[in-house]
Symmetry: D2
Subunit: 134 residues, 4 copies
């Protein structure tokens, strides 16, 4: 399976008055982490969209294990457990600077051909880049 | 069970370049909807915090059934299916102006005593306000 | 000149760990307020975009006079002092529930024809709707 | 004067349906850039808050010169032109990957002693770290 890792620094904008990362902001961390995980494979989500494929999110799940805090340099570990087909599932584990697991998440995305609006298979270059992992 | 309904107008800030509501922004809609659902019971989450109880989110799940779009006046139907104890679970159904179900979600929150940091039971006024529904 | 008023409830998502509204979130309040001010004239920014005109922001200024706080029902007073031409300037005054002025702002926007990418004049229906105020 | 530079990758979350960075999101870029500019001086805004000083924003100004776009690795150049006293002013210039200046901004912040709520002077370690630049 494919694994990668990304660092994200918590912004003040992302905290709330509880002094924690607002629970809704983890979705953006997941987005950053999965885009970087693709980039580490030599793939660009931006180019994918330019080539006529979008990847809308179908489902998202988060479990908040411990508060995330301002200015921490988080480590987001991303795993794609199953070889993607017409859908792709990313799993995330987020660790704080004390290496404590603070959040786990899972996002399922579709591949959609923008011209037709119809679901399609993972693009060839992604299939190739991922082929060594499954 | 307790049911309520809230209207939310989609902001431009909440869209992304796909032309949809960014998937991470539904969490804020859920927050607005559950706070308004409490307000309709005569309860204020702001006062709850002032009284020394916070309600951090433990888990959040979203399923995206159809794109949400700019400027639509969404209807968020909130349900609390089970009588809350030391945790409370809110379920959401979001409908667009065409009355199409575009999103469903579920959030589990804890009651935490801010002084001790320890989970506690639902406050008395909330228990009383909800008592008629279970 | 044209004046209007909009109410906005502060979301938890919009607070930061200082316990205030994060300074960057006022821009979204301004957006909501100016879109509502147009709606009160019978104009829809969504329809404007559908008709091929976008209104990107050219300049934005905010002065933060007092902290904005969670759950307050803010009143945003919007003024368009000068009759718009190829640009439009919105001024904002934001009051909290104690009727204290907490924020003032100003946003300058252009009218851009999306087909050509070229600045254009205010659309006719907007000119007509605003004609009584200047 | 003190100058520094920070790189920020544009997130999908930060775009809007115009296909640009939403105008309100530049404030968070400014925040990141000024915090990193302090970090490059050996200063931590997080520690500053822990030491009992907050830096609320008093004024913010943005000029949008060209659209910012998804996935671009922006360069934010930060300048503190005048030696800070009880206030500090940060100026920003944001360049896209084509080295085009897309945004300029200015933020004025106060130093507030959290215990008293009263404005105070820049903390000693900051004064020392900045002393070589003025």
């Amino acid at each position: 399976m494919y694994k990668s890792e990304t660092k994200i620094r918590v912004r003040y904008a992302e905290t709330d008055q509880m002094g924690y990362i607002y629970y809704g902001n983890y979705a953006a961390y997941y987005e950053v982490a999965r885009v970087e995980s693709l980039r580490q494979l030599g793939l660009s989500y931006k180019d994918l969209e330019a080539d006529g494929i979008i990847m809308p999110v179908l489902e998202n799940y988060s479990k908040y294990l411990a508060p995330g805090r301002y200015d921490e340099l988080l480590t987001v570990k991303v795993t794609v457990k199953k070889r993607p087909g017409v859908k792709i599932v990313f799993n995330y584990e987020i660790f704080n600077e004390a290496d404590e697991l603070i959040n786990i998440g899972e996002t399922k995305l579709a591949f959609i051909d923008t011209a037709s609006g119809i679901p399609c298979r993972m693009p060839d270059d992604m299939a190739e880049a991922m082929s060594g992992y499954y």
